[in-house]
């Protein structure tokens, strides 16, 4: 299966590629080549680093290509900053807009409670109807490392709690995002990536 993995120069893609290959997919990295996105059967937007880096997605035309692919029904998965990009924006870089598939915005964890960043294994509270999280139970642990987070919204399919509840995973038809790193979350994470790869190409939003 052709999986386009978008490189927007915001950190290392090795772990995501390794996990996808381990599951039998053939990831192709693209940083500006829109044809890879146009013919992809799955699109993954990984992400570590700063929200400002997503400006590159606009300047390279990737944003437009991704929007079209999503409209065609291609399953899309954003990871960490890649999930935050599905929202309207983030207070990390107020001048940079996200895809706005979800109209809310991301913001920093409040100071003065716990350490920020939120680093480590935290448990999920899973909604039963999620296709991305099929077979994942509430209480399973996944690995997070982030300082900004998305609020809990109608499309939240898993919430996690750090200082207060936030969106650990969102899903609307073929548009999905996870705040945690499935490629670093052991058997639970691999199962989620496998679900994503098994997603039927239908029900475009």
């Amino acid at each position: 299966m052709r999986v386009a993995v978008i490189d927007y120069k915001a950190g290392n893609l090795t772990s995501v590629l390794k996990a996808l290959r381990h599951l039998g997919a053939e990831p192709e990295v693209t940083d500006a080549d829109l044809t890879l996105i146009e013919r992809a059967e799955r699109i993954v937007l990984p992400g570590v680093g700063h929200f400002a880096a997503t400006a590159r997605l606009d300047s390279t035309g990737i944003t437009t290509a991704v929007r079209a692919a999503i409209a065609r029904g291609v399953p899309f998965l954003g990871i960490c900053v890649g999930m935050q990009w599905l929202f309207a924006g983030s207070s990390e870089e107020p001048n940079q807009r996200g895809l706005a598939a979800f109209p809310q915005s991301c913001s920093r964890f409040p100071e003065g409670h716990e350490k920020v960043p939120h680093v480590g294994w935290n448990s999920l509270e899973v909604c039963p109807n999620s296709r991305l999280l099929a077979g994942i139970s509430s209480g399973e642990y996944v690995y997070f490392t982030h300082s900004y987070r998305a609020p809990v919204v109608a499309e939240t399919v898993a919430a996690s709690n750090y200082i207060e509840p936030f969106s650990a995973a969102v899903e609307r038809a073929n548009v999905m995002g996870v705040q945690f790193h499935p490629e670093k979350s052991g058997a639970t994470g691999l199962k989620i990536l496998r679900n994503f790869l098994a997603f039927a190409m239908e029900g475009a939003c």
Partner: protein, 259 residues
């Protein structure tokens, strides 16, 4: 709930895992890639590989080791030892590491922390600090000496002050090793760990002295550690990370279980 992490550490020399007591009496404990996979299977939340080889040939062996280990690791994987430039870090990331740990090179050139953080994100930079209490200082704990070269050389830096600077420069985590406790299996230095953990707003990984389950429980409670690292107690089958975590859970410590 965010859990306390149990990190398995592999000290690697010339492509083999070794373990010493207070950095001497080194003994062979096996193949790093095999051991990394075993620790992950046995419930470790994260794997740290520290290369103590300094030679050029040894560096090539390290990258090969990282590549082999990373192939089967789907938990966070941190690699340290001999990383002197952003280019060195890049090679280690390309080989499959998720984080790098920098120690002496960051003390020589603190801008190294900024440089790696800018390119790979703060979450990818762990600053490792080897500290020894200084009985002559006004505050022997907060002013513990920062050492390099496996604890042989004093740097003139003080532990809390250096941890602060590392955080300000964009370190994502601090890996704090107590040179007084390392290899003794007599318990972590909880006072030292707490002093650093309270001084910074990034996670602190406690290292040095793990011997019993109670030591881990203490360093999480009294030492305010976010994670704890151990090597020898796992290598020789004294305890797997899983059995350690099961006992910690019974003691009320939040840990990732089942794993």
């Amino acid at each position: 709930m965010l859990t306390k992490r149990i990190i398995a550490c592999l000290d690697v020399h010339d492509g083999r895992v070794v373990k010493g007591v207070q950095f001497v009496d080194i003994i062979d404990a096996g193949d790093p890639a095999e051991l990394a996979a075993r620790h992950a299977r046995e419930g470790a939340d994260e794997i740290v590989l520290l290369d103590i080889t300094a030679t050029h040939e040894g560096r090539k062996t390290l990258l090969d080791t990282v590549r082999r280990a990373a192939k089967v690791l789907f938990v966070p994987f941190c690699v340290g030892g001999g990383i002197r430039s952003a280019r060195d870090a890049e090679q280690v990331f390309d080989a499959g590491a998720d984080k790098v740990s920098v120690n002496s090179a960051a003390l020589v050139d603190p801008m190294l922390i900024d440089a790696i953080g800018r390119s790979f994100g703060a979450q990818a930079v762990v600053v490792a600090i080897d500290a020894r209490r200084d009985p002559t200082a006004a505050d022997p704990v907060r002013d513990a000496q920062v050492l390099v070269q496996g604890g042989r050389k004093v740097t003139g830096r003080r532990v809390v002050e250096w941890a602060h600077e590392a955080e300000a420069r964009g370190a994502g985590e601090i890996l704090l090793t107590s040179m007084d406790s390392d290899g003794t299996r007599a318990g972590f230095d909880c006072e030292l760990t707490a002093a650093v953990s309270e001084a910074v707003n990034i996670p602190v990984i406690a290292s040095g002295g793990a011997g019993t389950v109670a030591h881990f429980a203490e360093v999480f409670a009294r030492g305010k550690a976010d994670a704890a690292l151990a090597a020898s107690i796992f290598h020789f089958g004294v305890s797997s990370a899983r059995s350690l975590k099961q006992e910690l859970a019974q003691a009320g410590v939040p840990v990732r279980l089942p794993c």
